[in-house]
Symmetry: C2
Subunit: 360 residues, 2 copies
């Protein structure tokens, strides 16, 4: 089988941490779980720790609304705790505020943090503020896995069923709208014009909810789990690399595409799978369930009035195949993951090249 | 007695967190301890959590050397764990890197982090990197207090003895050198010229060591503890406000001033106490010990070949008095804490006004 395309970001991260001492009490290796997992002396439990910042999203104009910036500062971190199935303990904040930041903007930013903190049940424990030329916000979330049995990205095996906590594609559709609204007209090889993306209706909002309850609920059932913070296809790609198996996504795209995202793509003739490509994702969980646990899992979900979406299954071959209409796309997800950085972060060029990839 | 000068930063922080839910498991209130303290379900222990970033230090040119930036990213966080007496569990990093950052600079930054992580026994657990226009680094440290009895900033009472883990003033002297080397000549009311500060010898370096061992050792003995990350006088001021008592620093300045800092001030005629004023401190611990525990504390310190420095004692009146030669300065430390922000962060103006304050 062909070698997988090397992922630029993974290679960069491996080099960055090359000289670091790993912690003796840490149970996960690099990139093996969405949160770092640390055994506490004298207890059966594991701490789950994660940090994520809102930087590029602000500097590129992807997030402009201060409430949204605050909300996402909490949710990107809550999402990592959810993916390991941890109980939330709390959040630290580290905010860099420009000296001339508007007071009303700051108040809205803090309100977004406060509301998301309540929605996620992730109280703010403390933090740090700094004065800097560019606004950015960083969160650090702490969770607890009392029985020491977290979910990680490892454990998927052929035949396991592939699920998601909710509809996919909204993060990608939102990013297209936000970044391409005023972009210059760019054309791909197949005549697709990136400028044509903006939706006919009101703008999509983007304010994903916490998945912490779902993460805790599915912890006894899932064999592997990862959040879609970087998009659905990059998530599958990372799970494929770590587990050495592939995925066949056999569900109808319509059955799991976010309804608002689907409305965005139609008039512009963007193939809907493009919104699954990241790098801006929707912060759902993608997870695998061994077939023998599926009935119990679905019953537990039903008891909480929650309907997880079944997408497909794990395959022996490390390839990602996605059904689109009556055919399967075999997507080079490694190529897709590198593409945004290869085009220098130009959203229009990225979209055109993505569409072209689907024609190959 | 006169009302204490309101601290701008404290008021700002109180407003920032006004809408936040406090965590039910958190045992400390706002600003009552250097790290946030969280009770873990089913255990006797407390988690200690803190975050600190290197932002202004980079943007103002206070830290230019990449190794130093990496080193300090770890140490500013280790210092907060030390101040509550926690055992270090690990560190998360969140780095914002400019897209054109020099590879050699980045390698030195990471080496500084790696070396400080080893020196502090604080392994890197994981982290996040972002692309942004301005370099900044953020750390999040996690520690553990197994018996659930941390040190906090509360508990100092009149008659308790005031100690520091090591010499003071190097952070202030370093900042004067780094920020005023090329500053325009500025004069204070008493003819002091800020330009005259640079030392005659080689530049002071600034690479404070970890105080985690000392913090754990003194935990059974100290009644209150705080690190001097913002300078010695601001630390005393904060302890005074929280405890409702003052401090008399009766030791000879020479007995606790950093030797290199003392050499900096002499030719320039900077009164040495100015280097204790912050806002850039030296990352020692300042703590109080009830007199009945002093002998046992000193014996425990001696057993580890460590000589803490005795500075003075806690007084009933909430005033800070500092011996300088044969007189006592009664310093308005609230005024001093606000001064740097009042002069818009102008280091030369700050230094001149500080010197003038000592003449009042």
């Amino acid at each position: 089988m062909p070698a997988l395309t090397a992922i630029r970001e993974n290679a960069f991260l491996a080099a960055l941490v090359g000289g670091f001492l790993r912690a003796p009490r840490q149970v996960n290796g690099l990139q093996e779980s969405d949160a770092e997992l640390v055994r506490l002396p004298g207890t059966a439990g594991l701490l789950a720790l994660t940090t994520d910042a809102i930087v590029e999203e602000i500097q590129t104009g992807l997030y402009r609304d201060p409430f949204q910036i605050g909300w996402m500062t909490v949710m990107v971190n809550a999402s990592d705790l959810a993916a390991v199935g941890a109980e939330p303990l709390g959040l630290l904040l580290n905010e860099t505020l420009p000296p001339d930041l508007d007071a009303a903007f700051l108040a809205e930013l803090q309100r977004g943090i406060a509301m998301a903190s309540r929605a996620a049940g992730l109280p703010v424990l403390g933090g740090d503020t700094n004065i800097g030329s560019h606004l950015q916000t960083c969160g650090l979330a702490v969770g607890w896995v009392p029985d020491g049995q977290p979910m990680t990205r490892l454990g998927a095996a052929p035949g396991h069923l592939l699920y998601t906590t909710g509809p996919l594609g909204r993060g990608g559709a939102y990013a297209c709208q936000a970044l391409l609204g005023n972009a210059p007209r760019t054309s791909g090889q197949h005549g697709f014009q990136a400028r044509a993306v903006p939706s006919p209706g009101p703008d999509l909002d983007f304010r994903p909810g916490p998945r912490l309850h779902e993460g805790q609920m599915l912890r006894p059932f899932a064999s592997a789990c990862m959040d879609t913070s970087d998009g659905f296809l990059p998530t599958l790609d990372q799970l494929m690399r770590l587990n050495g198996f592939g995925f066949e996504v056999s569900a109808d795209l319509e059955s799991y595409m976010d309804a608002a995202a689907a409305r965005v793509n139609q008039p512009a003739a963007v193939p809907p799978w493009v919104f699954l490509a990241g790098p801006h994702g929707e912060f759902e969980l993608v997870f695998t369930v061994p077939p023998e646990r599926e009935a119990a899992f679905l019953e537990a979900a039903r008891a909480q009035d929650w309907r997880p979406l079944r997408l497909g299954h794990v395959t022996t071959q490390p390839v990602i195949r996605l059904r689109s209409g009556d055919r399967y796309l075999a997507l080079d997800t490694g190529r897709i993951r590198n593409l945004f950085s290869e085009v220098g972060g130009d959203a229009a060029a990225y979209l055109c090249q993505l569409v072209d990839l689907g024609h190959q």
